[in-house]
């Protein structure tokens, strides 16, 4: 089947989103190298990195933001060391895996609501250059849907789990291929911890899948825009409060952040699985960890905090049924008079949604950082005990309770709607 012009444009838009998402995530990860140190500093009443400067016509310091540039430059010029007896191929492969894997999770995250374009059809012949490749085709811009997502997989959540479980190969291979006892111990710890918490992580999400009846992330986010009792947005945190807490805790254990940072431990096993790494490879491990940090913030925001949803706001207008507030964009006389105004308003709504998503992600990134610098780390047996004896039973209870409540809601909903009258 030849590629139609519409498909080509969809493909091109996806490619643009790939660049946008990669750019945004890597920029944020770069900033996090600075944020982590600065944040811990000011939480502990210190100042943090502020000495790297650029001497133009003044001595610029910008709160130490130049450390973002100074650190990679320093690390790149370190010796790239592979220890004797190490498996050279796997030793080099491990940091690549642990950086590439968390990055690919972002492929299924929707970062703004779909935008319906109602403009006009364009014949391929009208567009310069394009007409030669698509003879007789038309670009149906009168009814064109732009999705703000790299790939709208209908198994979105499963894809996230499948891919993020691969991250364990990075740590395992890194520890094993280094030919170092400390590295190996660190990677063993990482492996058992990640496998234990993967169970809790998966079960915590089952509740979300039950409530919204879908595993596709775009569907889950769209359904989170529905209103409960006509006023409360049906965000995951409201329908699944226990699931949210369990997911956040398991997620932090999964990405090996404090208070679960047992694979690293300076006093016990040096740097754990990346003891034998230096230079750019060590930087890739660190960077992979920061990207995983963003991944967790993003997934939590998507599954439990409505993704790109802004409460009551949609591409049609603002709507709160219980308070009988209904504001349609088409209701404004200005929008009715100008054909393109509605389109512009909808583009604006999409921009607001993307902004809301960014704010939510940044909030969770901040929260995870805050947790890291607040809680003391667990002992290893405590981590295992918590994973299997606390999180797993609670997640199972959560699934059963969700099922019971869903049945109750289905039977009570018509009665409630009659009572509240919406």
């Amino acid at each position: 089947m030849p590629l139609t012009l519409d498909d080509t444009l969809h493909l091109l838009i996806s490619l643009v989103w790939v660049l946008v998402v990669f750019g945004a995530v890597l920029t944020l990860a770069g900033f996090l190298t600075w944020v982590e140190r600065k944040m811990s500093a000011i939480m502990q009443d210190r100042i943090g990195p502020n000495r790297a400067n650029v001497r133009l016509f003044r001595n610029w310091r910008l709160f130490g933001l130049f450390h973002i540039m100074a650190d990679p430059v320093k690390l790149f010029f370190k010796e790239d060391f592979i220890p004797a007896g190490a498996n050279r191929v796997l030793h080099t492969l491990a940091p690549i895996i642990s950086l590439a894997v968390p990055l690919s999770v972002f492929a299924v995250i929707p970062f703004a609501g779909p935008l319906q374009i109602h403009w006009k059809d364009l014949a391929a012949a009208q567009i310069p250059l394009v007409g030669r490749f698509f003879p007789g085709d038309t670009l149906h811009l009168s009814d064109f849907l732009v999705t703000f997502q790299v790939a709208d997989l209908n198994v979105g959540i499963l894809f996230i789990f499948a891919v993020s479980s691969l991250a364990i190969y990075g740590t395992m291979l890194g520890g094993w291929a280094s030919n170092n006892k400390f590295s190996f111990l660190g990677s063993m710890r990482a492996a058992s911890q990640m496998i234990s918490y993967e169970v809790g992580l998966g079960l915590a999400v089952v509740g979300v899948v039950m409530v919204y009846g879908a595993v596709s992330l775009s569907t889950i986010v769209t359904r989170q825009g529905e209103l409960w009792l006509g006023i409360i947005p049906k965000w995951g945190v409201i329908t699944q409060p226990l699931g949210f807490l369990l997911f956040l805790a398991c997620g932090m254990a999964e990405i090996k952040r404090a208070p679960f940072d047992l694979p690293e431990g300076e006093s016990e096993i040096i740097a754990g699985f990346f003891t034998e790494y230096s230079s750019a490879k060590m930087m890739m491990f660190m960077f992979g960890e920061f990207v995983e940090w963003i991944v967790l913030g993003t997934v939590v925001a998507t599954l439990f905090f409505g993704g790109w949803q802004v409460p009551y706001l949609s591409s049609h207008g603002i709507n709160i049924p219980l308070l009988k507030i209904e504001l349609l964009w088409t209701g404004f006389s200005y929008v009715q008079q100008h054909p393109l105004a509605l389109q512009l308003v909808q583009v604006g709504v999409t921009a607001v949604q993307a902004g809301a998503f960014a704010v939510k992600v940044l909030f969770f990134v901040w929260l995870i950082g805050l947790v890291r610098w607040t809680l003391p780390r667990f002992r290893y047996d405590q981590v295992m005990k918590m994973g299997w004896k606390m999180v797993l039973p609670l997640a199972l209870i959560n699934i059963v309770a969700t099922g019971v409540l869903l049945l109750c809601e289905q039977n009570l909903k018509p009665i409630l709607q009659k009572v509240l009258g919406y």
């Binding site: 502990q44 009443d45 210190r46 100042i47 807490l245 607040t374």
Partner: protein, 154 residues
């Protein structure tokens, strides 16, 4: 120190206590983000930290009114010094009022542990550690062996 007590059931539930801890750190975060009120750091080279007058720093030799050292080379400081960092070579004083004077008076600052016992031992109030010099640094180890001229020159 407080006696170890039983946890209440809310504390054992763990999550409320986590939230309480997070509120404490978040308060510090926002206070320091916007006001820097509670930050304890001194930005050292630009900002001097107030030093107590009792603070023991680099040594110096006290002078008489005519500019010569008050030291009479009695060797009390060199004897009391636990790290044996003071080396004195005594000579006959040109001034008739005093018996001896130090021909050389060397303090090996790398060996010094800044205990201040030399200052306490000195009967003539000759060696002092009140220079309040925090920026005492040098490029080579030899520069940390202070001669009599360097000790007098303060």
């Amino acid at each position: 120190m407080g006696r170890k007590r039983e946890l209440t059931w809310i504390e054992r539930f763990y999550f409320p206590e986590i939230v309480r801890g997070l509120l404490v750190t978040a308060r510090h975060f926002f206070v320091n983000l916007f006001t820097q009120r509670e930050i304890q750091t001194f930005q050292w080279p630009e900002e001097e930290r107030p030093i107590s007058p009792r603070w023991r720093g680099r040594h110096r030799l006290n002078k008489r009114e005519d500019g010569t050292t008050r030291c009479t080379a009695c060797m009390l400081c060199a004897t009391v010094c636990p790290s044996e960092c003071i080396h004195i070579v005594a000579g006959e004083s040109p001034d008739r009022k005093y018996e001896k004077y130090p021909v050389s008076y060397v303090v090996d600052v790398f060996r010094c542990c800044y205990c201040g016992m030399c200052v306490e031992a000195c009967p003539c109030n000759a060696i002092l550690m009140d220079t309040q010099d925090m920026r005492f640094g040098a490029g080579t180890p030899e520069q940390f062996i202070l001669t009599k001229e360097q000790l007098l020159d303060w």
